[in-house]
Symmetry: C2
Subunit: 338 residues, 2 copies
């Protein structure tokens, strides 16, 4: 990512210390490292009695915890003193620059949407996630799961928002935006995708370009910068990728352990295998961003360890500093005024 200079943020990043499979310990450890090693101001949000060993990080008290498998809508409405709701309120109230959670994804989205509100003109917020593109710039995929059913015009807006994100987060000057389909020709795909293609081809792309359809095999390549799809397809593609990486890595490690000579050779390949693992592991990017709400909301994997949290906090701080929300607001207003 572009993030080398120390952060000059004055407002802290609000980290939901209670969300995630390894909360609060791994969350606190990651937040602390982001603070100590990158100078990012952080406030932990959660139950003070569970957050006694924070290494000096400030705690914003919240007495409730939304469970990983709780119903998002009703829990956000009912649990007004939950760590997720309090984190979103801190952003809304100008007490925090951004929020980060590895907790219940649906509840994270609902908290951000209900407390921060939508950017004016945004039809639906979408989850933008980064996919590794070996040797190149990561690909932004959206919607990765916020809206399981979409209208074609929402996909146009996802593309416009994804282009802003690609620029602010990855430094791509004129992002190439494409529609995920099952063939490159405009006539390929479901009726919905054909309609979306027509809408995207007609839309105006300020500071970005629409390059047509791409297929699943293009996701991890440098052929495209932003790939747009509905949240069902996007989530299936994302989890298919995660499963494939896990499965291939596991098969590789198993096969390397079977012959003594192979195990010895594999030992020597430590740096390479480690680099490969990091290159393809979701923790490297530290999470996805919910685009379209009036604040920075980073959504981390439920299985996030401290490294993923550290990277998510860094990304959140970077996005707040880059004013991605301001840029999204302008881009949506421009597109809607055409």
């Amino acid at each position: 990512m572009r993030h080398n200079a120390p952060m000059s943020l004055s407002l802290p990043v609000a980290v939901d210390a209670m969300g995630g499979d390894f909360a609060p310990d791994e969350i606190v450890a990651g937040a602390l490292r982001a603070h100590e090693e990158h100078g990012i101001p952080v406030v932990l949000v959660g139950r003070p009695e569970d957050l006694t060993d924070t290494g000096g990080l400030e705690v914003l008290p919240a007495s409730q915890v939304i469970a990983m498998d709780a119903d998002p809508g009703s829990s956000v409405r009912k649990m007004k003193d939950s760590s997720l709701v309090r984190a979103a309120e801190a952003v809304r109230d100008g007490a925090a620059s951004a929020m980060v959670s590895a907790g219940n994804t649906g509840a994270t989205m609902a908290s951000a949407l209900l407390r921060m509100g939508r950017i004016k003109g945004v039809s639906r917020p979408a989850i933008a996630t980064l996919l590794p593109s070996p040797g190149g710039t990561p690909t932004v995929l959206l919607d990765a799961g916020a809206n399981s059913e979409c209208s074609p015009s929402w996909l146009v807006q996802f593309g416009q928002m994804g282009a802003v994100f690609s620029r602010d987060r990855l430094g791509v000057d004129v992002p190439r935006v494409a529609l995920l389909s099952i063939g490159e020709e405009p006539g390929k795909g479901s009726p919905f995708v054909k309609e979306a293609h027509a809408a995207m081809a007609e839309a105006s792309w300020t500071g970005a370009s629409f390059i047509g359809n791409v297929e699943g095999r293009d996701l991890l390549t440098d052929a495209v910068d932003v790939v747009v799809t509905d949240g069902f397809t996007g989530n299936v593609a994302l989890k298919t990728l995660e499963g494939a990486m896990k499965s291939l890595m596991a098969a590789l490690l198993t096969s390397l352990g079977e012959r003594p000579e192979a195990a010895a050779a594999a030992q020597m390949l430590g740096p390479e295998l480690d680099g490969l693992y990091r290159q393809f592991h979701p923790d490297t990017y530290g999470g996805a961003m919910l685009l379209g709400v009036r604040g920075v909301c980073m959504i981390s994997h439920g299985s996030s360890r401290s490294l993923a949290v550290e990277n998510a906090v860094r990304a959140a701080a970077e996005m707040a500093e880059a004013d991605v929300v301001g840029h999204l607001t302008e881009a949506v207003a421009d597109a809607n005024s055409d």
Copy 2:
């Protein structure tokens, strides 16, 4: 696969010698190896003037070739003497036990559908493909691309047909059938997927069981035998997997070449890397099968080399011998009589 005994087929497998990126040479080479090494009777279908060096394989003449990017419907209707149409007719007329093509996928489906016809009671034929499941039995995924939009009841039938295929092709006694979604709970997914879930939960599963939803990350695992989805989502998932495997393999090979010590160690890992490559390469399974037509139709990847063709011919012969079409006919009739 289950295929060890020599084939006792009397009818030949009709191989479209003109279809595929490397036709006719790689197609002929693969067909010849299936014949010579596995005793499978084969007839090549194509232009005699392009098939002079067949190693003794018989040629069924067809003067036309449907291009890889031709429109499937109109080319099948117009090109009555094409290799694809003639291959499908050979199966229909009892001159061949099965057909295999690495050519235009849409045209292969259209030829099979129009010439062989549908199995009675089948709403829509679907493409069933095999996904590697390291250390376990491959997963059958369908529809992998025949129908970009589906009705929920078609998905029930895809599951019933996929279970027959899992049994006949992979020897799974009571296949576990699941629906591809974005969460395990029945309430997760798009409205279409929720409806499909309800229909699958209500359906009768003779010789198979419906185990609910699975996610993209389960595709390459042993948690499920048959995964059902619409042809758009299935094709995206399949191509995403192919892209991920290619990308990870390429990154691995690049990283192994960067340090001299790593290159030396990688040399020693030849058997492991080779095994891994074969385990995950689509050529290993030799292609997908179109389920629901009145004959065995194997669809190979356009990029098939001779190994893929050899494996596809073996799979086709095995499926003809196992009478998978008879079993599909019974299963669909049983389900429709409930």
